[in-house]
């Protein structure tokens, strides 16, 4: 196992398109790193550069202490799980998993041991002599994992490995991958566009957009202290509510209502010179409360709005409404009796409000 170091990595295509721009990241040994972002953000390209399937336009990439820019894929000591599994259709599960070792001229008994061990971990023992076409989606996914495990590589790369599975299987495999990471103590780099996968699996998450890293942090920090508007909107479901507000030195004014900010937040804003300026406020749906149900002391300045959509999620209810020219949502307890068309009294938990600069979109205070 080994860590990775990516220094000023760029990917430029001959037509001038820049898929990855100045990518800097140190990945520690045994870390579970997630690259997440919308499609076209450069996350897969970065992964493929690590795998050696794409050339690096400029920058330095190290695996362990070795610069691997010009090292061929097969000599980088990495294994990759592909989105479509890329199993060898003409080989049995056993041969698929043992193929890399066979090419390395590993003795047969060692191959056998490695394959059977991986098959045991992944519960593939009963299908070892089947071909990929005879397997279910979940089993194929496991074979792809097995093929990587058998090689005992320094780094595992996974390119949206769960995106072809149905929802139930995806949750199950997600747990299995987490278990596998603990068991193997491997360095894993995992690409996904699914933020739930990112939040549940990663020790650190790299959020990307347009080829640029937006933020690298643990799931908790990403969720609670997003660095900019994009990260705030991308992480979390349903997404964070945003609205424009004026800062008057003490609180935020929006929709004709003044929301008093906690002292420490107001102090930061004053210090940074945002007094009498327009900022963007962000609040997660779970921090927007139905004032009737949760009549807490800290909920200040209730306002009323008409419910447009009512969604029952099971344990919770989502209420959609308009406020200060923005579409917003609130995640409230089942106790809410609100129905579509009702005027409901909402209140923000101002302790949890995020404030962003309108121009730079960077977070000012959380």
């Amino acid at each position: 196992m080994a860590g990775l170091s990516l220094q000023h990595i760029w990917k430029k295509y001959p037509n001038g398109y820049e898929a990855v721009k100045d990518f800097n990241l140190e990945i520690a040994d045994k870390e579970f790193i997630i690259f997440v972002g919308p499609s076209g953000c450069g996350k897969s390209t970065t992964l493929r550069m690590i795998a050696g399937l794409e050339d690096i336009s400029s920058g330095v990439m190290k695996i362990g202490d070795r610069v691997v820019n010009d090292v061929e894929s097969k000599d980088r000591d990495i294994a990759m799980v592909f989105q479509n599994y890329a199993l060898y259709p003409h080989m049995t599960v056993y041969d698929n998993m043992g193929f890399a070792l066979k090419l390395k001229k590993t003795p047969k008994d060692q191959i056998d041991k490695a394959v059977r061990e991986a098959a045991k971990i992944l519960e593939l023992e009963k299908v070892l002599d089947r071909r990929p076409a005879q397997l279910s989606g979940g089993q194929r996914q496991r074979v792809a994992m097995g093929r990587a495990i058998v090689r005992n590589p320094r780094v595992f790369l996974m390119d949206e490995p769960l995106s072809n599975l149905d929802a139930k299987l995806r949750v199950q495999m997600r747990a299995e991958i987490a278990r596998l990471h603990d068991r193997l103590g491997a360095t894993i780099i995992y690409v996904t566009h699914d933020q739930t996968e990112a939040m549940t699996l990663g020790t650190r998450i790299v959020v990307m957009k347009d080829g640029i890293i937006q933020q690298v942090d643990s799931p908790t920090i990403l969720y609670n202290q997003p660095g900019n508007l994009f990260v705030a909107g991308f992480i979390g479901s349903p997404q964070m509510n945003f609205f424009e507000a004026a800062f008057n030195g003490k609180g935020l004014e929006a929709g004709g209502i003044e929301f008093a900010l906690p002292d420490e937040k107001a102090a930061v804003l004053r210090e940074k010179g945002y007094t009498d300026k327009i900022v963007i406020a962000g609040i997660r749906p779970e921090n927007v409360h139905d004032a009737k149900v949760e009549s807490l002391q800290k909920l200040t300045a209730p306002f009323s709005a008409k419910v447009n959509v009512f969604e029952l999620l099971g344990s919770e209810v989502l209420l959609y409404f308009d406020f200060a020219d923005a579409a917003m949502s609130a995640k409230v307890g089942q106790g809410s009796r609100a129905a579509v068309g009702d005027e409901v009294s909402f209140a923000f938990d101002m302790e949890k409000i995020h404030v962003f600069d309108k121009e730079t979109e960077l977070a000012i205070v959380h």
């Binding site: 399937l53 894929s73 990759m80 890329a86 259709p89 193929f99 890399a100 390395k104």
Partner: protein
């Protein structure tokens, strides 16, 4: 209901003429040929029934025996040569190179030329150009070498189609399978042997069967290049059937030859399919 009647009428209008033509020019001659194979018909005049005698004679006739030897030698050598070369061509034309489409078009040209035309061009090359360069007698005049000239011409023309089929086969292999293989350490020959070739096996089968069949029926190239010579060394079975059947007064005898030849080709093709299909993977 009206439209159904109309559809039926269109169906009959289209299919009946073709059926008649097919019967008239294919089925009927086939049946007549089969009947003639039991006679001593010379192609003209009167004839008598001779029962199985033509068939018995076939197996003792040295000229027929020689033509079988020549035809199979040519077909086997040409089929192997064509498939090796067209696989290499397909791999090259499927790689990331410039002017790929243009080159694919260029290399396909031999296929659209008539076999006779190609034959005559090569005849000119073998008769005048090559001897001038090598300062030896023409290959076509040497009874030990003439068959090689025919192999070359057959190969030159067939490679185009076979390459095309292999290219389409190569395109069925997903890119990520190659990527997975290169991460697993398969490069060059190993990649071809363990990944590419097994995955295009169905295309290999069809190419081998079609190629073998076409080469067994070699005719035009011989008409253009050697006319069966020198010293009957390049008489293929088809050529012998045509030559001696039409012009040599052996219509009945060569009809029997044709019937046997038909059975031989079907047998060879079926055996090939059986053997190669077994190796084809259930994907």
């Amino acid at each position: 209901m009206k439209s159904q009647n109309e559809r039926r009428r269109t169906f009959l209008l289209i299919s009946i003429p073709i059926l008649l033509l097919f019967f008239g020019f294919n089925t009927l001659p086939l049946i007549k040929g089969f009947i003639y194979s039991f006679t001593n018909f010379r192609g003209y005049g009167s004839y008598e029934w001779v029962g199985w005698r033509n068939y018995a004679d076939l197996f003792t006739d040295t000229r027929v025996g020689n033509s079988y030897w020549f035809t199979f030698k040519l077909a086997i050598v040409a089929t192997i040569l064509i498939n090796i070369l067209s696989l290499i061509m397909a791999l090259a034309l499927n790689s990331k190179i410039r002017f790929k489409s243009f080159l694919r078009g260029m290399y396909f040209i031999p296929n659209i030329l008539g076999a006779l035309v190609v034959g005559y061009i090569f005849s000119y090359i073998f008769t005048y150009i090559l001897p001038a360069i090598t300062r030896t007698a023409s290959m076509l005049a040497d009874k030990n070498l003439a068959w090689i000239a025919i192999v070359i011409v057959c190969a030159w023309q067939s490679i185009a189609m076979n390459t095309l089929i292999y290219i389409s086969g190569l395109q069925t292999v997903p890119e990520d399978v190659y990527e997975a293989a290169s991460l697993d350490g398969a490069t060059g020959w190993n990649k071809f042997r363990y990944i590419t070739f097994p995955l295009i096996m169905p295309f290999f089968t069809i190419n081998m069967v079609l190629c073998m069949k076409n080469n067994l029926m070699v005719f035009d190239q011989i008409m253009a290049l050697t006319n069966g010579g020198p010293a009957q060394s390049t008489e293929s079975i088809s050529f012998l059937i045509y030559n001696n059947g039409m012009a040599g007064g052996q219509f009945g005898f060569q009809s029997a030859n044709a019937v046997i030849f038909f059975i031989v080709i079907v047998t060879v093709s079926v055996l090939q399919m059986r053997f190669l299909n077994k190796r084809e993977e259930q994907l």
